[in-house]
C-alpha cells in the first residue's frame, strides 16, 4: 500500500517532466498511474470481501510509538477505489479542460499529490500517519483551490479552506493524541477492541469533541460549511475531485473509521446526528437558492455530507449500509455533475441557470451524463441513488432521539435537493436555447469521465446485488467493526420507504416548478444570509489583524527608551521580588571605612550625579572619567594593582575616544517630559536599591574560596608565575583571554569598517 502511495507521489513529482516530454499525451499517461492502482484495488476486492484485511507497517518514530502502518479493509478499499478511479478520470478530464494552458503541468502535479495524500489518508492505520496525510490533503487542496491564483477571490477562498480545515485539523491532532492516551494505542484498527476502555476514560469526552471538530470542519458540517462553496473558485475538475470522492469525505471517513471505538455513546449520537441533520437542511436550502450551477452543486454536496454524517451518527446496521451506499453513489454522481457542469462552462462560457438552455442537442453526451447523475441525486429509480435513498429512509427510523425532527429535516432536505437536481438536469439542456449558439459537444476528454461515471451509476442501480454489494458490505462491516450483511435488490418493493421517496420527489417537483418565483420572493432575505458563519470568519480574521496591529503599536513602538524601561523594569521586578521575598538581608561584617576610601566613594557618587546633570558632552565625559578613575583607586586600595593599572590606562584611552568621537555632537538636552523623568527615575532607583541589596546579601554569605585557594597554592609551582592574577589570565583561564582579545580585534575591525565604509561607496548587496 505504501508502494501505491509512493507511486502517486512519484507521478506527481514527474508530472512537469512528463508534460514537457509527452505533450498532449501526458494527461492520459499520468492518468494511467491511478488507473493501474484502481485495477490493483479491484483485484483486492475478493480477499477483502472474504474478510481478510491486509496490513503492512514499519517503524517510523518509534520513540513516540508511531508506526508507518497501513491497513486495507472494506472501508479503506471503497475509498481507495473512489480515489484512484475518479482520480484517473479527472486527470484525463483536466488535461482536456486545461489544454494549452501553461499551468497544466502544475495542475497534474498538484492533483496527483493530492491523490497520494488522500489515498494515504484512507489507508493509514496509525492515527498520526492519518493526520499526516490529512494535513497533506489540506495543503494540496490549498494549492488546487487557489489554482487561479491571480484572482484575489481564489486566493481568499484557498486561504479560508486551509484555515478552517487547518484549525479543525489541529484540534483533531490533540484529540487523536488524547485518544491514543485513553486507548493505549495509536493503531486505528486496534481501537475498536478498546472501545470500553476508551469510553470509560476521563479523556474520552475531550478527545471526542476535538476529533469531531476536525471531522466536521473537513467535511463542511454546519456551522463550518461556509468554506466549501468558496472552494468553488477552483477549476471544475478540481471541484469535481475534491467534493465528490475526496477532501470533504475525509471527515466522513474518519467518523466511520472511529465509529467502532467512539460510536454508540450518547455524546456521539447527539453531536453527530445533530450536526448531520443541521448540515443536511442548511446545504439543501442554500442549494435551492443558487443560480450558479457550480455553487448549487457545492451546496448539495454540503447537504449530502450532512446526510452522511447523520447516517454515521446513527451507527446501526441499517445506517452503516445506507451510509456506505450513499457515499458510493454520491461520489459517482457528484463527480459526474461537476465534470459535466465544467464541460458546459467550457463550451457555453457560463454556468448560470438563468442564461442556459437547450444545449441537449449540441451536447448530447454531456446531457446524458448530467441528467443521469442528477436523477441519481434526486433519488429516482432505477438509478443507484434511489437505492441509497431507500436505505436512508430505513436507517433514519432508527435514530435514537428526536426522530421526528430528523425525519422532517431529511424530508425537507431531500425535496430541496431533488428540486436542485431538476435545475441541473433540465435547465441547461432543455427548453429554449438562449445563447451560446456556438456551443457544441465537448471533446472526448471532457465527456468521457462524466459518461463513464453516469453509466456506472445506472449499472449499479440495475444490478446492485452483484455490483454494489461487494463494495458496500465490507465497507459497512468495517464501519461497524463487526460483520454486516447487506442485501440489495433493484426494487425493494412497496415499502413505507418507497412511499416516502415518492412524496419527497413530488415535493421536489413542486419546488422545482416554483424556483424562479421562490427566488424572487426570497430575494429580500438575501441580506440575512450574509449574517452566516462566513461573516463570523471574516470578522475573526479582521479582528485578528486589528489586534495584531494594536499590539504592535503598543509593544514594538520603536522608542528605545520604552524598550529599555520594560526590559529593566522586568529584570528589577522579577529579581527584586525573588530577592526580597526569599533572601535575608544583613549588613556585612565590618572592616570599617578609612577617610581616604570614603573620599573616593564620595567622588564617585558626585561624578555619577554630575554625569546625569551634565549639560555638555565634555562635562559628561569628564564626570564619567572621575567615576572611572575612582574605580581604579578602589582597585588599588584593595589589593588589585593589575586592575588599577589597566583601569587607569583604559579610562584614559576611553576619555580620549569619547572626546574625539563625540565632541561634534550637539549639547545635551532635556528631551523627555517630566512625567517620564519620574517614571524612569522610579525604575532606576529601584534598580539601584536592588543591586545594593544584592551586594549586601551576597557578601553576607560565608565566603567559599576553593578556586582562590587552589590558585594561590598552584600559581608558582604549577604555572611558573608569581602574579596570580596574570597567571589566571594567561594560563589558568587563558581561554577567556583568547575570547577577550578576539572581542577587541572585532571591535577594532568594526570601528575601522564603520568609519571607512560609507554607504555611498557600497555596491548593492542582497
Amino acid at each position: 500500500m505504501l508502494t501505491s502511495i509512493l507511486l502517486l507521489f512519484a507521478a506527481s513529482s514527474l508530472a512537469p517532466l512528463a508534460h514537457r516530454a509527452l505533450g498532449k499525451r501526458a494527461g492520459v499517461c499520468l492518468a494511467a498511474v491511478p488507473a493501474l492502482l484502481f485495477a490493483h484495488f479491484v483485484g483486492q476486492l475478493g480477499s477483502v470481501t472474504a474478510g481478510r484485511a491486509s496490513a503492512e507497517s514499519w517503524d517510523w518514530v518509534a520513540g513516540l510509538g508511531i508506526r508507518l502502518a497501513f491497513h486495507l479493509d472494506g472501508l479503506s478499499l471503497l475509498f481507495a477505489l473512489l480515489v484512484t478511479g475518479i482520480g484517473a478520470l479527472v486527470l484525463v478530464y483536466g488535461a482536456g479542460y486545461l489544454e494549452g494552458d501553461p499551468r497544466l503541468p502544475r495542475f497534474s502535479a498538484a492533483m496527483l499529490f493530492f491523490m497520494a495524500a488522500m489515498l494515504g489518508l484512507v489507508l493509514a492505520d496509525d492515527a498520526i500517519v492519518l493526520f499526516v496525510f490529512w494535513e497533506l490533503t489540506s495543503v494540496s487542496s490549498y494549492l488546487l483551490i487557489g489554482f487561479d491564483h491571480e484572482q484575489e477571490k481564489a486566493r481568499k477562498s484557498a486561504l479560508q479552506a486551509l484555515f478552517v480545515t487547518g484549525a479543525g485539523g489541529l484540534a483533531m491532532l490533540a484529540g487523536l493524541l488524547l485518544l491514543g492516551e485513553a486507548a493505549g494505542t495509536l493503531q486505528l484498527s486496534a481501537l475498536g477492541a478498546e472501545a470500553a476502555r476508551i469510553q470509560g476514560h476521563a479523556l474520552h469526552l475531550p478527545a471526542l469533541l476535538l476529533i469531531l471538530l476536525g471531522a466536521f470542519t473537513k467535511s463542511a458540517q454546519f456551522p463550518f460549511h461556509f468554506w466549501l462553496p468558496g472552494a468553488m473558485a477552483a477549476p471544475s475538475p478540481v471541484s469535481a475531485y475534491l467534493h465528490s470522492a475526496t477532501m470533504v469525505k475525509a471527515g466522513i471517513y474518519l467518523l466511520a473509521r472511529l465509529n467502532p471505538a467512539l460510536g454508540g455513546t450518547d455524546a456521539w449520537h447527539y453531536l453527530v446526528i445533530l450536526a448531520g441533520a443541521a448540515t443536511l437542511v442548511t446545504g439543501a436550502v442554500l442549494a435551492y437558492g443558487q443560480t450558479d450551477l457550480k455553487r448549487l452543486l457545492a451546496f448539495t454536496t454540503v447537504s449530502a455530507l450532512g446526510t452522511l454524517t447523520l447516517l454515521v451518527g446513527i451507527s446501526t446496521e441499517h445506517s452503516a449500509r445506507a451510509a456506505m451506499a450513499f457515499l458510493l453513489v454520491h461520489a459517482l454522481y457528484k463527480a459526474a455533475l461537476f465534470l459535466g457542469v465544467g464541460a458546459i462552462d467550457h463550451e457555453a462560457g457560463t454556468r448560470d441557470v438563468r442564461e442556459l438552455g437547450g444545449l441537449a442537442r449540441a451536447m448530447p453526451l454531456t446531457a446524458f451524463a448530467v441528467c443521469a447523475s442528477a436523477l441519481s441525486m434526486a433519488g429516482l429509480p432505477p438509478l443507484f441513488g434511489y437505492v441509497a435513498k431507500e436505505f436512508f429512509h430505513e436507517a433514519k427510523q432508527e435514530v435514537p432521539r428526536a426522530a421526528a425532527w430528523v425525519s422532517t429535516a431529511s424530508f425537507l432536505g431531500s425535496a430541496l435537493v431533488a428540486a436542485a437536481a431538476g435545475l441541473v438536469a433540465w435547465r441547461p439542456f432543455f427548453g429554449r436555447r438562449r445563447s451560446q449558439l456556438s456551443a457544441h459537444e465537448a471533446p472526448p476528454a471532457l465527456w468521457l469521465g462524466p459518461v463513464l461515471l453516469a453509466l456506472l451509476g445506472v449499472a449499479l442501480g440495475l444490478f446492485p446485488g452483484s455490483l454494489a454489494v461487494p463494495l458496500i458490505q465490507p465497507a459497512a462491516s468495517a464501519m461497524r467493526g463487526e460483520p454486516t450483511v447487506v442485501e440489495l435488490a433493484p426494487w425493494l418493493g412497496l415499502s413505507p420507504a418507497l412511499v416516502q421517496s415518492l412524496l419527497m420527489l413530488a415535493a421536489g417537483a413542486v419546488l422545482y416548478a416554483v424556483h424562479d418565483r421562490a427566488l424572487a420572493a426570497l430575494a429580500p432575505l438575501r441580506g440575512l444570509a450574509r449574517l452566516g458563519p462566513d461573516r463570523g470568519y471574516q470578522a475573526l480574521m479582521a479582528g485578528l489583524v486589528a489586534l495584531a496591529r494594536a499590539q504592535t503599536r503598543a509593544l514594538q513602538n520603536g522608542v528605545l527608551g520604552v524598550y529599555l524601561l520594560v526590559t529593566i523594569g522586568s529584570a528589577v521586578a522579577l529579581a527584586g521580588y525573588a530577592l526580597f521575598s526569599r533572601a535575608t538581608l544583613a549588613a556585612p561584617a565590618g572592616g570599617g571605612v578609612r577617610l581616604g576610601e570614603a573620599a573616593v566613594a564620595l567622588a564617585m557618587v558626585v561624578g555619577a550625579v554630575a554625569v546625569i546633570r551634565a549639560r555638555t558632552t565634555l562635562i559628561g565625559v569628564a564626570a564619567l572619567g572621575v567615576v572611572g578613575y575612582g574605580v581604579a583607586v578602589i582597585f588599588l586600595l584593595f589589593g588589585g594593582p593589575d586592575l588599577a593599572l589597566t583601569q587607569f590606562a583604559i579610562e584614559t584611552l576611553s576619555v580620549l575616544l569619547f572626546v574625539l568621537v563625540l565632541r561634534r555632537l550637539p549639547p545635551l538636552r532635556q528631551l523627555s517630559p517630566r512625567s517620564e523623568h519620574l517614571r524612569d527615575g522610579l525604575v532606576a532607583v529601584s534598580g539601584g536599591l536592588f543591586v545594593t541589596a544584592l551586594v549586601l546579601a551576597a557578601t553576607a554569605t560565608p565566603h567559599a574560596t576553593p578556586l582562590r585557594d587552589w590558585f594561590a597554592a598552584n600559581s608558582l609551582s604549577a604555572a611558573q608565575g608569581r602574579n596570580v592574577v596574570n597567571v589566571i589570565l594567561v594560563d589558568f583561564r587563558a581561554f577567556d583571554t583568547l575570547g577577550e582579545i578576539t572581542v577587541l580585534a572585532v571591535a577594532a575591525l568594526g570601528v575601522v569598517a564603520l568609519l571607512r565604509l560609507r554607504p555611498e561607496d557600497r555596491k548593492e548587496s542582497l
Binding site: N726, L729, V751
Partner: protein
Amino acid sequence: MTLDSPILRSATRLLLPLTLMFSVFLLVRGHNEPGGGFVGGLVAAAAFALVLLVQGQGAARDLLRVDPLSLVAAGLFTALCSGLPPLLAGGAFMTGSWLKTPLPVVGKLGTPVLFDVGVFLVVLGITMAILFALAEEER
C-alpha cells in the same frame, strides 16, 4: 591635527624607544609582577600615538611599518598557536610548557608567555587601528 614643533619632534624621538622598551618590560614581567601583555600593549600604543599626535598619521604609519589590522591578525595567530602544540600532541588545548632554565632578565619562558605576546600585539594593533581610523576621519 598635528602638534608639530622641533622640540616635540626630538622629544618623541627620544621617548619612543624608551616607551617601547618599557612596554616590553611590562609584558615580560607581567607573569610575576603587575603588568602583562595588555598593559604593555597599551603603553606601546601610547608611544605610537604620540608620534601620530606630533608628526601626523603618515609618520606614525611609517614607524609602525605594518598595517595595524595585520598586527591584530598576527597577535591572534600567536595567541592561538601558543595553545596548539599540546593539542597536536594529543593533550589539552593551551597546556603550558616551559623551558627548563630561566633566561637572564626575561625569566622563565613558556607558551603562556607567548600567549601574552599575542595579547600584546593585539592590543597594540587594535589601538592603532582605532586611532588611525579616527585620525583619517578628522581630515
